[in-house]
Amino acid sequence: MSSSPNGEPLVRLSGVNKWFGELHVLQDIDLEIARGEVVVVIGPSGSGKSTLCRTINRLESIQKGEIAIDGEKLPEEGKQLARLRSDVGMVFQSFNLFAHKTILENVTLGPIKVRGKSKAEAEKHARELLERVGVSAQADKYPAQLSGGQQQRVAIARALAMDPKVMLFDEPTSALDPEMINEVLEVMIGLAGDGMTMIVVTHEMGFARRAANRVVFMDGGRIVESADPETFFTNPASDRAKDFLSKILNH
């Protein structure tokens, strides 16, 4: 897999700044993500990487700068924002499957409510997606009846059901038991292989090595370093990245 940085970037952040009260969590972020590119964002906790991910579909607002998706500036509120969000898939750390809906309903809700698809059409597509992530047997169960790994795979299927242009993953394996991490990563690696544009906040260095085109290292609300995985892991340019890698790779 190689990066395909042809044409206009699919996601573009320029001069993005965000404060939580006094805390300057995102400082002058410039980042461009090409169509089909898989970018892994890593960094110590509190570095702003999750916040960065959440600004891209405006679950977090920004105070300065501009974010554009597919050449379209992110709207502030209302119908326009809802429409743009429907093109951006999001997978959360804590899954956030709708607790009162079945697995199948979780996956069909967006296509029916937002895309106006018929129930039959949405269910057909949903079953294919559940098959693809390996949880088709659980379609009529409720989220709490599934393991964490299964729930997260359903969450990926739910996001894919909207045919998104880009997928955001906000620490998708951090809430999982160790033996369930791989089943989720396998699905994500498959997606990357199919050419999905992905922004992944994660601590899984194995995933970064196998599937990423680029690793973005953040610290203190800034992007410190951006490099291909091989370069980043074997020969990081900044001291902070070296320090971070020595802490996480020595165990």
């Binding site: 579909n57 679950l59 209302g78 119908k79 809802a82 429409r83 743009l84 969000r85 429907s86 093109d87 951006v88 898939g89 999001m90 959360f92 804590s94 956030n96 499957l97 709708f98 607790a99 009162h100 809700l109 967006g110 409510k113 937002v114 409720y142 989220p143 709490a144 009846q145 969450a155 739910r158 996001a159 909207m162």
Partner: protein, 216 residues
């Protein structure tokens, strides 16, 4: 037992009056309380402030004072209810709506914020998120507290007895005054009549609670 048979029409009418007070006020309070809750979670600040003011005033005022005001106080501003029954329904509804609103709001707060976030991330707008994801889950958690509000309301109707509504409690006073030798029987009959209203409610609340429970 012939005593009860002799006074059956009186007891029956009193029971029906109490039931009518509770049910009518309950429906009005539910409608008003839901409206107040919608105001309290709305993005419009003056609406939130008005609803919060209302809830705090009525939640912290004794019900008897509300009754007094609606029975006598509003005459000062040239207003009067067409009947004492309607005056009692108004007092009970205005008062209970504050508690309904609090229960509903706690239900909305109990839905994890990730649920609304996931809905918004899919592209659902504010109304769809509230209607399909947040409120259906809020309602389920709110069944037990709403049940408590209903039972409290059923018993609060007894205050209407002090304002010339011939409900169960008024009838208790009347029968007890006239039949000192039958005091225990009178008490028993009245208590049973209240239980007929509240016990099935408690059972029904339990059933609804089990039916609508969601796994987390």
């Amino acid at each position: 037992m012939s005593f009860l048979a002799d006074n059956f029409p009186l007891l029956r009418d009193a029971f029906l009056t109490t039931l009518a007070l509770a049910v009518t006020s309950g429906i009005c309070a539910l409608v008003l309380g839901t409206l107040l809750t919608a105001m309290r979670v709305s993005p419009v600040a003056p609406l939130r402030a008005a609803a919060t003011f209302y809830v705090e005033v009525f939640r912290n005022t004794p019900l008897t004072v509300v009754f007094f005001f609606l029975a006598f106080g509003i005459v000062e501003i040239d207003l009067q209810f067409p009947s004492r029954f309607i005056s009692a329904v108004a007092a009970l509804s205005l008062y209970t709506a504050a508690f309904v609103s609090e229960a509903l709001r706690s239900g909305i707060n109990s839905v994890p914020s990730g649920q609304a976030e996931a809905a918004r991330a899919l592209g659902l707008d504010f109304r769809q998120t509230l209607g399909t994801i947040v409120l259906p889950q809020a309602f389920r958690t709110v069944v037990p507290p709403l049940g408590n509000v209903w039972i409290a309301l059923a018993k609060n109707t007894s205050i209407a007895a002090g304002f010339a509504v011939t409900d169960l409690t008024a009838t208790l006073q009347r029968l007890a005054n006239q039949n000192a030798d039958q005091l225990l029987v009178v008490f028993m009959a009245i208590v049973v009549a209240y239980l007929i209203i509240t016990l099935p409610s408690a059972w029904l609340i339990g059933v609804i609670e089990r039916r609508t429970a969601i796994l987390r």
